[in-house]
């Protein structure tokens, strides 16, 4: 594990980037920066160096977006529950319209749409970078939360209007299927693998799951459903809502869009830090093994760390003899694998 430190920086403080006398920053000399994942070509790309996660501007933007989102949500709730009038037919139940379509918009179109685009950009050779993989993962996780909110708010609205919390309606069923598909995506991300392998298969999974998004959208047109069709963005582009209700609805969309982008930025940074901490723990464990004499030290002729970097379940091979210089990569050579206790999280 990571050794305790006497001078622990504050949790929110950014790591220092001071220059050492040798002209190289401590960050560049740290085990994290020298880990195999940090030195992989994908991680070295400009995008993967993550302006979203590191730059002070991004951190300030995150704060400003967060404050704007909180204010926007507060105003939406105030207008939606107290200021706007009840509907002629639905009465007070119409107040759910300021919440339910907005969370559905974020989940379906923003989150899962962004995940599909990011996955596509990852798979495209010219734009391949771990940045897109992390962005897709962040978007999917936030999207799953909003998808759950969509299903819950829809069910609560359905009970007084349709008489049931749930029915196997086309819109509801396809939305539930979407949730299951993206839960599968999140499960796939937890399967131990090399980061690049994981990113590739998750990108394919996201594209596969995103096929359901247009099905959800057009389900009210393709099948006879209980769910109503588009009210604002209908084919005629003539919104059938007006006055204070329309403005509150619009504010709800803007506020929850801001909430989404705030969550996306924070979740992206978490993914970025997880990659760094994961490899840091791995290197610490390897050094412990090297100190025990199980693994040859770095710089010796034998491969120092034939491990699957970034995986949660990691083993270190202990070769009995040093392989010849032209031998294939160490991962392909079976050897006695010894699990490292403390690396598995």
């Amino acid at each position: 594990m990571i050794p305790p430190s006497a001078n622990v920086p504050s949790p929110t403080a950014e790591p220092p980037v001071a220059q050492s006398p040798q002209g190289q920053s401590p960050l560049a000399q740290s085990p994290l920066a020298q880990s195999p994942l940090a030195q992989s070509p994908l991680a070295q790309s400009p995008l993967a160096q993550s302006p979203l996660a590191q730059s002070p501007k991004a951190l300030w933007a995150t704060r400003i977006i967060g404050i704007a989102a909180a204010v926007g949500v507060a105003f939406t709730v105030w207008l939606g529950l107290w200021i706007t009038p009840p509907d002629k037919t639905q009465g007070d139940l119409v107040r759910l319209v300021y919440l339910h379509p907005a969370v559905a918009w974020v989940a379906l179109y923003l989150a899962f749409g962004l995940a599909a685009v990011a996955s596509l950009l990852y798979l495209w050779p010219r734009t391949r970078s771990l940045f897109w993989d992390r962005l897709a993962a962040a978007a999917v996780e936030v999207g799953v939360v909003f998808n759950v909110c969509t299903l819950i708010s829809g069910s609560i609205w359905g009970r007084p209007t349709w008489g049931v919390y749930w029915t196997w309606d086309a819109r509801l069923t396809s939305t539930a299927l979407l949730l299951i598909l993206f839960l599968g995506y999140l499960a796939l991300r937890r399967v131990p693998a090399d980061p690049e392998v994981r990113a590739k298969r998750c990108a394919f999974a996201a594209l596969f799951a995103a096929v359901d998004v247009p099905i959800v959208h057009f389900s009210v047109l393709w099948w006879k459903t209980l769910h109503q069709g588009a009210t604002v963005l209908n084919p005629d582009l003539s919104p059938q809502i007006h006055g204070s209700m329309a403005w509150t609805l619009l504010l709800g969309f803007v506020a929850l869009t801001l909430v989404f982008f705030w969550m996306l930025l924070v979740r992206y940074r978490i993914g970025y830090l997880q990659d760094r901490v994961g490899t840091g723990e791995l290197d610490t464990a390897i050094r412990q093994r090297q100190a025990e004499g199980v693994v040859p030290a770095a710089g010796s002729e034998a491969p120092a760390s034939p491990v699957s970097v970034g995986s949660r379940l990691t083993s270190v091979a202990a070769p009995a003899e040093s392989p010849p210089a032209e031998s294939p990569p160490a991962e392909t050579q079976p050897a006695e694998a010894q699990p490292i206790s403390g690396v598995v999280r």
Partner: protein
């Protein structure tokens, strides 16, 4: 109106809980990275004193 209150409470409550969880995860990871990047030799000197 009870359904409306329930809908707002559950949805906003879920989003709030997820927000708290995100902040907690970010703080924990920031702390771990800061610990991992601290110089062990400097830490030892700090513990030993001048």
């Amino acid at each position: 109106m009870n359904y409306v209150i329930a809908g707002y409470s559950i949805v906003l409550g879920l989003l709030f809980l997820y927000t708290v969880q995100l902040i907690w995860r970010r703080r924990r990871l920031n702390r771990l990275v800061a610990l991992a990047q601290s110089d062990p030799a400097a830490d030892q000197r700090a513990e030993d004193g001048p």
